[in-house]
Every structure is written in C-alpha cells, then in structure tokens.
C-alpha cells in the first residue's frame, strides 16, 4: 500500500529521513514526540509536500502524480482539517456526494445518528469531540482502501476516543484488504489497534516493531547499580539512570525472568518504551559493553 525508501525532506531547521512499508490489510501506528516528523511523513504520503529526495509509492504511484480518482481511494483525516464553520452536516453530505463516487450516504447518516452528530446544526457550534468524529467519519465513508489519520483522537475525552477507535476497528474488520496509518500521542490508543509501530524521533526512525512483540516480549528491568554491573546485557535495548540504579528496556523479558528470578521485571507499554528510548540521559548499552 505504501512504500517509502530513504525518503528525505529538508527544512531549514529540521530534516526527515525515513523508510517504511505498509502492507495491505495492516494497521500501522506512528508515534513520536511533538515535532518528531509524524505530520511531515503523513503530508509526504498524501502528496501535500514534495520530498527532497528518496522514493515514495502509495497505492503503486508517486503521490505527486495522484489524479482525483486516485485520491478517492484514500481517506484522510488531518489535525487541522475540517469544513467551514457555517456548514451543517447536511451540507457536508452534499459535498461528499459530489466528491466521492463511492460515498455511502446511508452509512454516514447512520453513524451521525449513532454518534450524536445533528444534521441541522452549524459545525462551528460542535464540541471538539463532535468535530473529531465528523472528521473521522468523513474519511471512512467512501470505502477508501487506505486510511491516513493524523492524531484523530488528540484532545478528546476517553469516551470520545473509544467511539472513534471502535469506528476505525469496524472499518478495518469490514474488508481485510484495507490498510491504515495512524499517528497519535496517546499510545494506549495505538496498543489496542495497530499491528506494527514505527517510532520516530528528530526525523529518524528509532524503533519499528510488531505491537505484539512490544507488549509481549519487551519489558522493564529495575536494578541497583551493583545488579546492573553484573547483568548480561545481550537483550538490553536501552538503559536509563535512576536514583536507585537503572531502568533497562529489554526485548526478551522471558530471558531475564528465567535467569534473574529475584529481579523486578515489569511489563512495558509504548509510553514506557518511549521514555526509555527517547528520554533524557539514556545509556547506549551496546556501546558500553563493546568498550
């Protein structure tokens, strides 16, 4: 669905260099701090910016060469996109009907009703949650093959986030060939949805792993200074100094549970992995053990 090879985009104070692949039928999550390059990546995929170098292919084409018909295959939801404040949902329906050959009006109306989006109220008067739901609904209502969502749940309460995630899950379950790329700050949203996670930092890819492995095999080991010194560091990805010693991120927690049965080992989640991978003074364990 998407192939990106050494794609770069150079700005005055920031540059992106990233490779990624999204297979048909998969849900891929993009995480990273603010300003890491998530939105730039998404804009490149949609053909909204011209890459400086590298190759990008979306649905078998360079996004810069997309025709209007190609764009119909993609459902997009960007953070600052939306309809005019003066529009009513019924106006949105009229626009979508004209824009997308496969727009499913019945589906759209049914979801609006279900999600409590009134047809005859100006969008300007919608709550943040209602606007976000409308954006997502717009992206999933025309049977797109590929969904690109930039922070669709940002700034929403837990119930609204859950409603949106359920809509996205239903969209994926409907057709097994559909793919989705979603970025979010809220990593729990991605844990229950994505098959793979790409973590980017300062425009570079720092981690690419199946969600299943991140949650099932990664773990956090808490150690005192002495224990840390004696630890077999073969499966330690990163370590961070703490007042009591070290927190270590492992990609083989089972190994340490077996060989260090008295050590404190916790399940990791994406948040704790971000903190250990990107957080302040992190120790490059591999460098250390080599020297």
């Amino acid at each position: 669905m998407i192939k990106m090879n050494e794609l770069t985009k150079v700005y005055k104070d920031f540059d992106l260099n990233i490779s990624m692949e999204i297979a048909p039928g998969s849900v891929v999550g993009l995480i990273g701090k603010n300003g890491a390059g998530k939105s730039t990546t998404i804009k490149a995929i949609l053909g909204l910016i011209r890459p400086t170098s590298g190759k990008i292919e979306v649905l078998g084409k360079d996004p810069m060469d997309f025709s209007a018909k190609d764009r119909e295959e993609i459902g997009a939801c960007l953070a600052d996109s939306g309809f005019s404040r003066m529009f009513y949902v019924k106006d949105v329906i009229a626009v979508l009907k004209k824009m997308y050959k496969d727009f499913d009006e019945e589906f759209f109306r049914a979801r609006c009703k279900e999600q409590g989006l009134p047809l005859d109220k100006a969008i300007g008067d919608f709550s943040t949650g209602m606007k976000a739901k409308l954006r997502v609904l717009t992206a999933i209502s025309h049977k797109a093959k590929l969904l690109i969502l930039d922070e669709p749940t940002s700034g929403l309460d837990v119930m609204a986030r859950n409603d949106i995630l359920d809509m996205l899950r239903a969209y994926m379950a409907e057709d097994e060939e559909r793919s989705m790329l979603i970025s979010s700050h809220i990593s729990t949203d991605l844990e229950g949805l994505c098959d793979e996670i790409y973590m980017i930092s300062n425009g570079r890819l720092v981690l690419h792993e199946d969600t299943d492995i991140l949650l099932g095999k990664y773990g956090i080991i808490k150690l005192s200074e002495e224990e840390y010194a004696k630890l077999d560091k073969n499966y330690i990805v990163s370590a961070k100094k703490q007042p009591y010693g070290y927190d270590c991120l492992t990609n083989e927690k089972a190994f340490y549970m077996e060989n260090y049965p008295t050590t404190a080992i916790e399940n990791s989640n994406i948040d704790s992995i971000i903190i250990l991978m990107l957080g302040g003074e992190h120790t490059d364990v591999k460098e250390e053990s080599r020297s």
Partner: protein, 124 residues
C-alpha cells in the same frame, strides 16, 4: 466464542489466546468444523492487534487444532479423541500434583494424603 485477555499478565497476549482456544477445543466447547471469528473482527472485539490474533491462529494450526482455508476462514480441525483425552488426563494430573504440594506444606505424609484421597473417592 468467549476469550478473556488479561493485559497486565506477564503471559504474552497471543499465548493467552492460544491457551484459551486450545482448552475450549479440548473440552469440546468448540466443535469440529466450527468457524473461529475472522482475524480482524476478533481483533476488534478483543481490542488487540490483528497480528496477535493471526499469530495465535497460526500456532493453533501448527498444533493441528484448527485449519485455515485461504479466503474463507479458520475452522476447528477434527480433534484426535486420544489426544483430547490425554490433555484432560494431563490437566487432572496437574491439579492433583498441586493438591499434593499443598498437602506437603500442611505437613501431611503420604499415608495421610492417600487417606484423604480415599475419602474423597468414597464420597463421590
């Protein structure tokens, strides 16, 4: 099909899935030829990644418990009744050995344990 995932367990989610489905097949709650939910819909229902579900189905297939027909779905395979009986026997053995270790903790000797077992058997 009812499966309960414990997200804070140290056991990886896909193993939890494999174990629970395996048990339901072994105990005959899932019958031969019965279809399992599609990967995506099961993932949506359990709020886990589809890859996790796929991995679990692959493992079950490897163990000969289910068959995946490409483009159609995953079905419970004909269970070897001998194998199922063996599994039930093993489960019973495990429970008994657990009971024995509890009895040891309580300071009971072999004769006392046998006595209790005899008593339970007679009561039945």
């Amino acid at each position: 099909m009812h499966v309960i995932i414990n997200n804070s367990s140290m056991i990886p989610v896909y193993e939890q899935l494999v174990e629970q489905i395996r048990q339901q097949i072994m105990l005959g709650e899932l019958k031969e030829g019965e279809g399992l939910p599609s990967v995506r819909s099961f993932a949506a229902e359990l709020k886990i990644s589809a890859l996790t579900v796929k991995k679990a189905y692959d493992k079950l297939e490897e163990d000969g418990l289910v068959i995946t027909v490409h483009g159609k779905g995953t079905y419970v395979a004909a269970t070897d009744t001998g194998l199922a009986a063996e599994a039930r026997r093993r489960a019973a053995e495990e429970d008994l050995s657990l009971a024995v270790s509890k009895a040891r903790l309580a300071g009971l000797d072999n004769d006392e344990i046998r006595e209790i077992l005899e008593m339970i058997l007679e009561e039945e």
